[in-house]
């Protein structure tokens, strides 16, 4: 797994707590943008990330996780 991927899976609970309901863009081991739409998150992220690969995650709200059957 790439560094960003590993970081997302290891920090998923914290991401839900902090960014539930938003799209986040992750590069390396940090969130570089958060927004209500992926387009907005990615536009901000591309300005910040420069050459880094960006990973985009729709972060569920806590209640949406509880409701998974």
């Amino acid at each position: 797994m790439k560094r960003a991927q590993k970081w997302i899976t290891e920090n998923f609970e914290e991401l839900v707590n902090n960014y539930g309901g938003k799209y986040i863009a992750v590069a390396g081991e940090r969130v570089i943008a958060a927004a209500l739409t992926p387009k907005e998150a990615m536009e901000t992220a591309r300005k910040v990330a420069k050459e880094e690969e960006i990973s985009l995650l729709k972060v569920p709200r806590e209640e949406e996780l509880i409701c998974i059957l």
Binding site: F12, G20, K39, M42, L57, K58, L65
Partner: protein, 130 residues
């Protein structure tokens, strides 16, 4: 045989099979995370992802999916170039404005290409190319 595995994400002692998958836009790849849903026939993404990719979601073939409360949601199928790590392929993906769950979804259509193992002991989801 090509094989790739992803650790489960964890939330309050629950395992969450989330994987990164890349979708091709007009001139680049965009890596988007999705929940591997063995109960879904189709892969369905938020239509805002279509917007990001430069796709007009509503131009695709209109379909309906039944969701948890028994109601139907419309989604629109598009042929997409996709990549799971190094493996590139074409697959139909649905986009919906009414996807009322917190995740984008990878459904069983992906299982035609891969043998998918949910290994709860290892806390991994494993994709093996058929």
């Amino acid at each position: 045989m090509y094989s790739v595995e992803f650790d489960y994400a964890r939330h309050r002692r629950r395992d969450v099979p989330l994987v990164p998958i890349s979708l091709r836009s007009k001139n680049s790849w965009v890596e988007v995370w999705a929940y591997v849903d063995s109960g879904a026939f189709y892969s369905i993404f938020d239509d805002k992802v279509a917007e990001l990719l430069g796709i007009e979601a509503h131009v695709g073939k209109r379909m309906l999916a039944v969701v948890g409360d028994g109601s139907f949601i419309p989604f629109y199928l598009h042929k997409m170039q996709m990549r799971l790590e190094e493996d590139e392929f074409e697959m139909e993906v649905g986009f919906s404005a009414k996807l009322g769950v917190g995740f984008n979804l990878l459904g069983m259509d992906l299982f035609d290409r891969y043998k998918v193992t949910f290994d709860n002991a290892l806390k991994k989801v494993i994709f093996e190319r058929r």
